[in-house]
């Protein structure tokens, strides 16, 4: 919650500053004829900083969303290990399913709620990686997760989902190694 609040307040403050500057412009500036008034240019520069900063903020926020999912996957891995050691098949199943869900969320770059936000941004014409999308590297609207990484995480999620029905420690560890490898490559 704290990190989310920080992101929100940063964006709000930046946008607020831009709007204040824009709103306090004099109707006519003192520059010579034919020149854009310098105050307007300055405001536009500030707004540009905000816009470009927002894009960076978006990337950082999505990275945080992914990290949160990864953290959850790891916590569930710990639970699953404990359950497996204690011959708690039901507990292991639940934990591995939760792992599958979390890993799937990494592949989908967030859960359905995040997807709804991404959809809204796309609807507004915002493509974080438009160049990468054109080259086929990213899915529409994706910020961090490449298509290749997406496939790896989604595959891993499906394997974990299946594994949950008949949990085995060695298979679980092997799949986690794959998840970690994909994660490291994504976050480097």
């Amino acid at each position: 919650m704290n990190s989310r609040r920080r992101w929100q307040s940063g964006i709000t403050a930046g946008l607020g500053l831009g709007l204040v500057l824009a709103g306090t412009l004099p109707a006519r500036a003192m520059e010579g004829a034919g020149e854009t008034p310098s105050a307007m240019v300055a405001s536009y520069k500030t707004l540009a900083d905000v816009i470009l900063g927002a894009k960076k903020t978006e990337a950082n926020l999505v990275r945080s969303i992914l990290t949160s999912a990864h953290d959850r996957a790891y916590e569930e891995l710990m639970r699953a290990r404990t359950a497996l050691k204690g011959n708690d098949a039901k507990g292991a199943q639940a934990a591995i399913e939760n792992m599958a869900a979390a890993v799937g969320q990494i592949g989908s770059e967030g859960d359905a709620s995040v997807g709804a936000v991404r959809k809204r941004l796309l609807e507004g014409g915002h493509h974080h990686n438009s160049e990468g999308e054109a080259k086929g590297i990213y899915d529409e609207g994706f910020v961090i997760v490449t298509k290749a990484a997406k496939a790896q995480f989604l595959d891993a999620a499906k394997v974990l989902g299946q594994l949950a029905k008949a949990p085995k420690a060695d298979a679980l560890e092997a799949e986690w190694v794959k998840v970690e490898a994909a994660w490291s490559a994504l976050m480097k």
């Binding site: 869900a101 989908s108 997807g115 709804a116 609807e123």
Partner: protein, 595 residues
């Protein structure tokens, strides 16, 4: 990917086709096919006598040829009501979304009746006509009589988007839930030929752009709960004032959306003694992604004995809600493998078909999609997990070009495997000005024959019923003439529906009718296994399927060359079973529940 659609016809197929056409032209209309139907008015459900035996199924034809034969007999049968669909240009997505259809037996005479929702006609930003929904009663000669007015089910001016037929109150009579753009309708069957709209009293009006719905017993308490999908947030004003603003391939302006429009949340209503309580959050159905919901299908996808729910979303990941017991569900679509296609992309999903395609005893899923994308066959690999096998099975290439809606798996030739039918039709009439790009707005339906787990497009060799282009939408299958094979009812925009009669030579068939309470309709959630020789076939009864439609609840089995089913095992929704042995084929076999 596209090569399979350009299939050539061999000479033998053309000869067969010519003979069939001649036979159809020379033969009597559907009215003369009477006699196969059951005697009415006994309240005893389906007929016990078998109709005339058709020729046994022939060996599989060569590639491109077909043993199938279908003909549209809607006009002769009296199904003439035109579906109104907004404006000719389809300026808003509501204009082009159409509706589902239902086969039901509302009067318990053993013959299928038909319900068709309707839309509005819009002109110059005004509603100039609110289409009358229609209930047609099936008659013994295979024709239909419009009983809408006397039954009291004309839709009350709502723009109907879907229909589900089920006995929601357990009184033995089939009721109708009509989903609407606006307030939904719940027509309670009073058992005397009349219905009463109790939606407000029952608590299921849920105003909005509702689409498909499904009745199923979500909490195992013995009554039917209700899930209603919703598409986008839109007001009547939005619809009336809409103009085509979306750029289509740089050559046309077409209807805007769904991107750019806000998704509407789906609803889940728990049945509490005939009154429904919104339990969406509590049951785990909160639609956090606000997916553009278009189709719903309940079924036991993980084989654990309770119903799960699959929701097809347009342009968003599909949802698979796994039943966790106690009336609680968990969305597991992504990691179960049926939310996205093989490439991990969300598709523009419209309709759903389910069935045991590969003889595994598990329910596979087929989802229809937009044009220039394939419709997806998800193979159930066990434990509720799926894999996309569209490419390997031939389904993908065969469905790439069409824009697809209603769909069903059915054994149309009773040879013992499930074939696949798909209703097609584009949403942008403007594309007719550029037919070279993706083909026409009006599209013929697709029939894919199952040949050992690989699907072959036999549409062009399956009779005139598969040759008529139209803006097809909802599709229901059912044996309307009680001759043992499965026919099709298909909604068409701005036109009367198609009633596509199956005239295909059949193998041995068996229709199992699990009788509901007090002789009522088969209860949704009932599963029937039929064993014949070394093969076991499975079907389930559901209320809500395809694209916002309801199929015939009687379960049709193709047994191939087996003239006897060794065993018929009915598993009722509460898990109890009824077993029958040595059941002869070619009959409607009623199974009553033990007292």
């Amino acid at each position: 990917m596209l090569t399979s659609r350009g299939r050539r016809h061999d000479v033998a197929a053309l000869v067969v086709w010519a003979v069939l056409l001649a036979a159809i032209a020379a033969g009597p209309g559907c009215a003369s096919r009477g006699g196969a139907g059951p005697s009415p008015a006994t309240g005893g459900g389906p007929p016990s006598a078998a109709p005339a035996v058709k020729p046994a199924a022939t060996p599989e034809p060569a590639a491109g040829a077909s043993r199938f034969s279908f003909v549209n007999v809607a006009r002769e049968a009296g199904l003439d009501r035109v579906t109104l669909a907004g404006r000719p240009g389809k300026d808003h997505l509501l204009d082009s979304a159409g509706s589902g259809v239902a086969f039901l037996d509302y009067d318990r005479d053993g013959r299928l009746d038909v319900y068709l929702p309707n839309g509005w006609r819009i002109d110059a930003g005004r509603i100039v006509e609110r289409g009358r929904h229609a209930l047609y009663r099936g008659l013994p000669d295979g024709s239909f009589h419009d009983v809408t007015a006397e039954a009291g089910v004309d839709g009350e001016g709502c723009w109907g988007t879907g229909v589900v037929a089920a006995d929601y109150d357990g009184d033995g009579w089939t009721d109708l839930f009509v989903s609407c753009f606006g307030k939904n309708l719940l027509y309670r069957n009073l058992g005397n030929g009349h219905f009463e709209n109790v939606a407000a009293r029952a608590g299921v009006e849920a105003p909005g752009w509702n689409t498909a719905a499904a009745f199923f017993d979500a909490d195992a308490d013995g009554d039917l709960d209700l899930y209603v999908a919703a598409y986008i947030e839109a007001s009547v004003d939005d619809v009336l004032k809409a103009t085509p603003t979306l750029d289509w391939k740089g050559v046309e302006k077409v209807a805007f959306g769904p991107f750019g429009l806000e998704g509407a949340p789906d609803h889940f209503f728990r049945n509490e003694g005939g009154r429904f309580v919104d339990a969406t959050e509590e049951a785990g159905f909160a639609d956090r992604g606000l997916g553009f919901g278009f189709a719903v299908r309940a079924g036991d996808f993980d084989g654990d004995g309770d119903p799960d729910l699959f929701v097809a979303n347009d342009s968003d990941p599909n949802y698979l809600y796994r039943n966790e017991g106690g009336g609680r569900f968990r969305e597991v679509g992504v990691w179960s493998g049926c939310a996205l296609d093989a490439a991990g992309a969300a598709q523009a999903s419209m309709g759903i078909a389910t069935g045991d395609v590969f003889g595994s005893g598990r329910l596979d899923l087929f989802v229809t999609n937009f044009s220039e994308d394939y419709s997806t066959l998800y193979r159930n690999i066990g434990n509720g997990a799926f894999e996309d096998v569209s490419e390997d099975t031939g389904v993908g290439p065969a469905t790439w070009k069409s824009l697809s809606w209603g769909t069903a798996f059915a054994d149309f030739d009773a040879d013992g495997d499930l074939d696949l039918v798909v209703a097609n039709g584009h949403i942008y009439p403007q594309i007719d000005r550029h037919p070279e790009l993706v083909g026409p707005y009006a599209q013929a339906m697709t029939l894919l024959e199952n040949r050992g787990g690989h699907f072959t497009d036999v549409s062009k060799a399956s009779g005139p019923g598969f040759a008529e282009p139209a803006a097809h939408r909802g599709l229901a299958m059912g044996d309307y003439d009680n001759d043992g094979d499965l026919d099709l009812l298909v909604l068409r925009l701005d036109a009367p529906p198609a009633l596509v009669r199956n005239d295909t030579p059949q193998g041995a068939w068996l229709t199992v009718v699990p009788e509901g309470k007090d002789g009522g309709p088969p209860p949704p959630g009932t599963v029937v296994h039929v064993k014949a020789g070394d093969r076991t076939f499975v079907r389930d009864v559901q209320a809500g399927d395809s694209y916002a439609s309801s199929h015939d609840p009687r379960l049709s089995f193709g047994l191939g060359s087996a003239e006897t089913a060794d065993e018929v095992l009915v598993t009722w929704p509460d898990g109890t079973t009824t077993r029958r042995t040595a059941v002869r084929a070619r009959q409607f076999f009623v199974v009553k529940r033990a007292a």
